[in-house]
């Protein structure tokens, strides 16, 4: 479970007096952007700012490419089937090598819903269109004629990064997907379903995690309700940017405003309560 070996040795240390900096790449931000993907980005930016960490967010359009290592965190959002089908081919042709190499050398990654599906081997969508995937995760997805819709709560374990200890907890969100995702033999789920459907409604698995890359169906948006997960991603990004000892900078000081902590606790409790109460 230890993943120190995936922290980039190339990361430059934070010199005294200098502010740490995280570079985020928002893939196909103009196409994959429903279900509050923007909220996840806003959160990463603001949460980092509260800790004195600078954040650059860069978008990427279909047809463009990026160099692995240029970014510390990659974000891939969701889209409706049609938007997704339009960019799937481009993404698999242009970005397969870069995404795999970036993840391999320790770049953090979060892919939600459609973005998650596109990081598997393929997605056979509701219109019967075969959308090629990037193949970062050992999984594949096929659309069913019923959608899995509702509040979800899952149990997750987030591995240690450098000195930053591993953590266990509950992640809450909302799912709405026609795809049923099957994990391959080498894939590890992101979490185990407590309430809700997850990857396929039957395996009890939700999402997938590889190194510091997470794919999940949970939106809502995911990060504002689950600040521990947001901090883990930022820690992974810091480790990539500035070396593994920088991971714990995300926990330094008590800099999250008190009203935010209170609201986070209430928001997550309400979300979990809904997931628990929903009849399926």
């Amino acid at each position: 479970m230890s993943s120190h070996d995936h922290s980039s040795p190339a990361g430059s240390p934070v010199f005294p007096g200098a502010r740490p900096r995280i570079r985020i790449l928002h893939l196909y931000d103009r196409y994959l952007n429903i279900y509050a993907d923007r909220g996840n980005i806003q959160l990463l930016r603001q949460r980092a700012a509260w800790r004195g960490i600078d954040v650059d967010v860069q978008g990427l359009d279909p047809g463009e490419t990026f160099e692995p290592g240029e970014h510390d965190l990659i974000y891939v959002g969701g889209g409706q089937d049609r938007d997704q089908a339009m960019i799937a081919e481009r993404m698999s042709v242009d970005l397969t090598q870069s995404i795999k190499a970036a993840s391999e050398e320790g770049t953090a990654l979060l892919a939600v819903c459609g973005g998650y599906q596109l990081l598997g081997s393929h997605y056979l969508d509701t219109n019967g269109v075969h959308q090629p995937g990037v193949g970062l995760f050992d999984l594949s997805t096929e659309a069913s004629d019923t959608r899995l819709i509702g509040n979800v709560a899952i149990e997750v374990e987030l591995p240690a990064i450098g000195d930053r200890p591993a953590a266990q907890g509950v992640v809450a969100g909302f799912e709405n997907h026609a795809g049923r995702t099957s994990l391959g033999s080498s894939a590890r789920p992101f979490g185990r379903v407590m309430h809700g459907a997850g990857n396929d409604g039957s395996s009890g698995f939700e999402g997938c995690r590889l190194h510091h890359a997470i794919g999940t169906y949970l939106h809502g948006p995911l990060l504002p309700r689950n600040p521990e997960l947001a901090d883990w991603l930022l820690a992974a990004a810091l480790a990539h940017a500035h070396g593994s000892e920088a991971a714990s900078l995300i926990d330094a000081g008590d800099t999250i405003p008190e009203p935010v902590r209170r609201l986070e606790a209430r928001a997550r409790a309400a979300s979990i309560a809904r997931a628990k109460a929903e009849k399926r």
């Binding site: 279900y35 806003q42 509702g150 509040n151 948006p221 504002p224 309700r225 009203p259 209170r262 309400a270």
Partner: protein, 475 residues
């Protein structure tokens, strides 16, 4: 108090029972009335259908027609059946607000004379799955009707709708029939915005997949669009708002060109999105042969529907204005109207519930552009069952963390916002942005207090009478 279970089916019980006993009752009721000469208009849209249906009913009533109308907003199959049942064979025209997903279910039974397609926005994806699925169902609905017998009044500024009407026309032409269609839209670039907002739902041509080019957008993805490949063409609207002057929250002055004749309207319901409703009502009235000269004055008489910019005076002085919000585009437009009007918004609350009628997925609040509103308001009371979720949205949208006042209980929140209005604003005006079930609940408290009529009271269709009743209730 309408409960969660009834949701938007409020007042729909008789129809529900009827449909259980006789599944084909809708067709039977409709045929019987048609034989007596009653015409049927179905009005559907994601946003504004309640207001648009009420405006149209007002206009038709002003031309002397007896109008049957599901005024309580019971817009599902059961609600429509209730309205038909209660109307019997009475009425010259039935103006029926129809839920987007219900339109395909009732159109074959009702065989409408006119279908009004207002707009399609992303809304409650937890219920509909995806927006394009809904557009496809509408296309099939039109495809199953005889194009010679139905008139389609449609918003040509919405490329999703324009595309499916285009297919309807082509299908009719192929069988040698001239389809009856009346495109409506906006034609005043001065109130448009360059480019598309974040929440724009339809950016691509449905024929070729190319991004549509927008000269400007008016509301969400409603705008002056073109397909760069020419695979889909926006026809010139037959009924269009040619001049629009927004006058804060008080009114909007507009000139509407109705098939070559210009009419002036002072619309007392604010917001650019309500200009679309007025134009759609004018186009629909025109489709039914209403005299153009009567349309303008009738639209000028229209007042807000329940919870839609509904301003309610409170006995302690000041007012509370209820603003129903339920999807990113709707919220954007309400906020834009509020912010641009220049009113003092120091006393505002946002009540977020997540029942079926609200949308169970609260993520939509993140897809709307709240930032200009938050910057101006400075403080917002967060209420409803998912109040904390809104609080976080506000803070991550730039509001000072101390600016979120958490008051989950709706009634407490209402009193608190009124208190703030008295304390911090000159005229005591409070604003409540509320999702559907929160609106019902707050409206029930308001009715209990006797500040306004109850939500579920059946609205008499004779307008002059109902207006007097309303004025009285507010005093």
């Amino acid at each position: 108090m309408a409960s969660r279970a009834t949701g938007r089916e409020g007042g729909a019980l008789p129809g529900k029972v009827l449909l259980m006993l006789a599944p084909s009752a809708l067709a039977t009721l409709s045929n019987r009335a048609r034989r007596r000469g009653r015409r049927t208009i179905l009005v559907s849209a994601t946003n504004g259908k309640t207001t648009l249906t009420a405006m149209l009913a007002d206009v038709l009533a002003a031309t002397g027609l007896e109008v049957v109308h599901n005024a309580t907003g019971a817009n599902l199959r059961s609600g429509i059946a209730t309205t038909m049942l209660q109307a019997g064979r009475r009425g010259d025209v039935a103006v029926l607000e129809t839920d987007e997903a219900t339109l395909p279910l009732v159109a074959p039974d009702l065989q409408p004379d006119v279908i009004v397609l207002g707009n399609l926005f992303r809304d409650q994806l937890d219920r509909f799955g995806e927006l394009e699925v809904l557009a496809d169902r509408w296309r099939e609905t039109l495809g199953a009707l005889d194009p010679a017998l139905v008139t389609i009044v449609y918003n040509v500024d919405d490329p999703l709708i324009a595309e499916l009407v285009d297919a309807h026309v082509a299908r009719a032409t192929a069988i040698g029939v001239a389809a009856h269609v009346i495109p409506f839209g906006l034609a005043d670039a001065s109130v448009g915005q360059a480019g598309l907002p974040h929440a724009a739902d339809s950016r691509f041509c449905r024929r070729c997949g190319e991004p549509l080019a927008y000269a400007h957008s008016w509301v969400g993805h409603l705008g002056a669009w073109t397909c760069p490949n020419g695979d889909l063409v926006r026809t010139a609207p037959l009924v269009a708002a040619t001049e629009v002057q927004l006058d804060g929250l008080a009114a909007t002055n507009l000139a509407i060109d109705v098939a070559g004749t210009s009419i002036d309207v002072r619309l007392r319901i604010p917001g650019l999105y309500n200009v679309y409703n007025a134009v759609a009502a004018a186009a629909s009235a025109h489709a039914l042969g209403a005299p153009t000269a009567l349309i303008g004055p009738a639209l000028g008489e229209a007042s807000p529907s329940f919870g839609r910019f509904e301003r309610i005076p409170v006995p302690s002085g000041g007012t509370i204005t209820l603003l129903l919000v339920k999807n990113p585009t709707g919220l954007n437009e309400v906020l834009r109207t509020l912010v641009d009007s220049g009113v003092d918004i120091s006393a505002t609350l946002f009540a977020l519930n997540d029942h079926i009628a609200d949308g169970r997925d609260t993520s939509w609040i993140w897809d709307a552009d709240l930032e200009p509103f938050l910057a101006k308001a400075g403080v917002v009371i967060a209420s409803g069952e998912r109040a904390a979720e809104f609080g976080l949205r506000a803070i991550y949208g730039g509001l000072d963390p101390e600016g979120v006042l958490l008051e989950e209980d709706l009634e407490d929140a209402m009193y608190r916002v009124l208190e703030r209005a008295r304390e911090f604003t000159e005229h005591g005006h409070a604003y409540a942005l509320v999702t559907y079930t929160a609106m019902l609940k707050m409206r029930a408290v308001i009715a209990q207090q006797g500040w306004a009529r109850a939500y579920w009271a059946n609205e008499p269709r004779s307008k002059s009478k109902s207006r007097r009743a309303r004025t009285k209730a507010r005093r």
